[in-house]
Subunit: 219 residues, 2 copies
Amino acid sequence: MQTMGLSRLVLVNPQRYPDADAYAMAAGASSILDAARIAASLDEALAGAALAIGLSARPREFAGTVLPVRAAMHEAMRYVASGEVALVFGTEMSGLSNAELSRCQVVATIPAVPDLGSLNLAAAVQVAAYELRVAAHGDAVWTAPAFEPATQDEIERLFAQGERALIALDFLRPAQPKRLLARLRRLFSRARLEKEEVNILRGILARIEERVEAGWRKP
Amino acid sequence: MQTMGLSRLVLVNPQRYPDADAYAMAAGASSILDAARIAASLDEALAGAALAIGLSARPREFAGTVLPVRAAMHEAMRYVASGEVALVFGTEMSGLSNAELSRCQVVATIPAVPDLGSLNLAAAVQVAAYELRVAAHGDAVWTAPAFEPATQDEIERLFAQGERALIALDFLRPAQPKRLLARLRRLFSRARLEKEEVNILRGILARIEERVEAGWRKP
């Protein structure tokens, strides 16, 4: 919950609270357990909510609106501007009962292999919280540091030097079709060369040309 | 893994294997542990893979292609037709090292609250496996049983009867603007009435009209 940006936990009629095991497993997120609200019933827990979304893996006869969890979390985001939204999870053993699910306007289901049982509770909470975060904030993540890209003329000089080096190595015959060069162009084009990489490659090529001229003797 | 349709687990240099705790936590998925392959190194584990996607929460200097986990799993699906794809996870304590991540062509990151630490390993595996399943199979889920929808003429007869009942109740004044009826139309339009629901509502309305005519006496 904490890593996904959620903070308000409501526990309905918990067997034990506070519980040492729960704190041990919460790692750095004990503040969420500290602030948990205890409700005597699901109705009490949901009293202030404008939209309740129940997570359920099993088909139910009177389920009403059933959505994949991704669409359900987008529906949640449509509501948060005007009212509180509750995500409702059942117990580890049996999930939500029909009576509990009847309090939910939307049933959210996590796509899974049919007939293989459902996710455990923590896994289901994780997926729902993740989808809610992506629905709320998009999924932009850190990007790799940007290195300066090589320019077209730098890359062409690299290819020209590479061609000379391959000829010097007697690997490329100038008279023969240049499929090899086309393949190498394709490879380096896909890689989107950076300036520094062009310099490194040209350094290697220059060394090859030197060594070939020197007859491959050690300097 | 099993619920999301994955079956091939490779453990790199595990501290204990097989491990009773692992089996206890695997619930119905012990066959995945039974079939796990043990590798002495990450290179050995990845030997047959055409694409390795490393999960990492932390920015790295030489990370190369960094994608949100959703986009990374779509990238995985582009590869599975032609080669094996590996999802690479680090240890619970420290994640993937830079050396380990350098074996991965794609770094996948799970969107999260910045600076709040990363997901635990099981949670990260769950999210990645979920996104892979959605990328592979879409997120169609079970739909609620389809009840026969009411037709427009059935709904119009319901509204006409409702209007009569509200007038009989002296709740709706025929001479006044009918904003009330418009609001009720909006409500029932949003609900997309089913045939059986129309019948139930008309039954209720009929009973109201009866009772009003009888002067609200008990029958």
